[in-house]
Symmetry: C2
Subunit: 301 residues, 2 copies
Amino acid sequence: MIGNEKLAVIGLGSMGYGVAASLLRAGHAVVGVDLNPARAAKFRDAGGMDGALSDHADSLDAVVCVVLNAAQTKAVLFGPDGVVPRLRAGAVVISCATVAPDFAKQMEARCTEAGVLYLDAPISGGPVRAADGTLSVMSAGRPEAYSAARPVLDAMAADVFELGAEAGPGSAMKAVNQLLVGVHIAAMAEAMTFGMTQGVTPEKFLEVISKSAGTSWALESRAPHVVAGKYFPHSAVNIWPKDLGIVLDIAQKAQFGAPVAAAALQQFLAAQGSGLGHEDDAAVAKVYARNAGLTLPGQGT
Amino acid sequence: MIGNEKLAVIGLGSMGYGVAASLLRAGHAVVGVDLNPARAAKFRDAGGMDGALSDHADSLDAVVCVVLNAAQTKAVLFGPDGVVPRLRAGAVVISCATVAPDFAKQMEARCTEAGVLYLDAPISGGPVRAADGTLSVMSAGRPEAYSAARPVLDAMAADVFELGAEAGPGSAMKAVNQLLVGVHIAAMAEAMTFGMTQGVTPEKFLEVISKSAGTSWALESRAPHVVAGKYFPHSAVNIWPKDLGIVLDIAQKAQFGAPVAAAALQQFLAAQGSGLGHEDDAAVAKVYARNAGLTLPGQGT
């Protein structure tokens, strides 16, 4: 597949870099943008276009926004150096951060005013699938936005769930997904350390539970990190106070009580508060271990 | 495979009946025992042996105990009409209820005193796999107990996890598994109904999340019941106050805090307290729906 689009990827963290590299690999011309100049330079060396975003903005077909949250999304789209006012009519913004559905609707409305298309397109799958171009995208937007975004979606994703004809439902489904993943990671940590108090080793936990009714995608993804004592942040603890915060915030606005998600959030807050924010989110197990006087693999001896 | 053992199955509920039928199918001679005479009669009609447990006890090779909890287990083994004192030396008790590890150790000790072998053997997999003879067994016991139990395990289970050389670790792993399944069912219900407040239908939830990072075995098993509005009890709400109660009880004895499991338990208690105890455990979704003014599939209209 040889692409012929001119694209920008804003945000070259572990997810954004993988997306940008996938777009390059598909043959598109890609400018990579990041506040960290080392990341931008690394991407140029890997085949990205030279020049600043402002040099290219008026000829871009699409901007893929892979920043951390709503505030960063708003800043890169509409802030003092925001890209939307510089885009040509009919270009598409593909917004991948986890945000509230109402925020996605606001961004779509402001893009529409500016003559720019908008796709509500939160991503899921982690850095490895980002690098492979096999992410899942929970998306919603106008048919014209999908048409304009198709070459990008084809290059970055294995699964594109099309959930609605205007922005909002993509972010809603992502919030639902994050509620579950966050709960499942905390539950994995809780169950594994509970098992240790009953003589079940982390290794045996992983071996048996991953083949039993207690398994989950999150458990199979994260329990091996605890068993190996490796907390390189594939996805950091810091993600969860943010994402479960979004979940509980929009739940509260809907007068919806989410007690299980709220309990899981407390454990991630304890992890963040005790200095584990930049570790892999499986490090929430350290909160349980500390509270129960247990020693996890790789700790102490 | 033609079995040649003489066996008893005590407890012919949805799990026990399936186990007993699997043992019959493997060619063993099986007496089925239940407080409900209709269940016992149904099993005799299906090929079970005539006569009461007391008629057969002294010639049994194994007793499979598939009752609800520790109190019933103790009663059928050592109560006024308990079977253990009537068993021949070297017969094996295969104890399948979810119980605390310490209780399993006590039962093993009392069986040993009586010259009887004991296998700590909680089962997992649900009624369909029980009927198919493809359960998972989380087991522990002496090598002699495994040898004596092997023909039974072969007929009832697809996976036998051997977790220790004396009773306890089987029940410990089952408790760990139940912590996760209970949390995952409550989280499924919470996420599905939260999604409804954000415009995500239960059907779309199941379609997308079952293929996304938010999935779990429990979600894939139970979410279809809510989507279909069918609450025939494959596994009832009433199971969870019992099993999560065991988890939190042994956790507390180990000074282990399990806030996510505790939050999930509250939701099952609300389901039980509001009259849903005998419905499928997916009916915990009705608690969330009622609290949020939502209408689930099959409700109302």
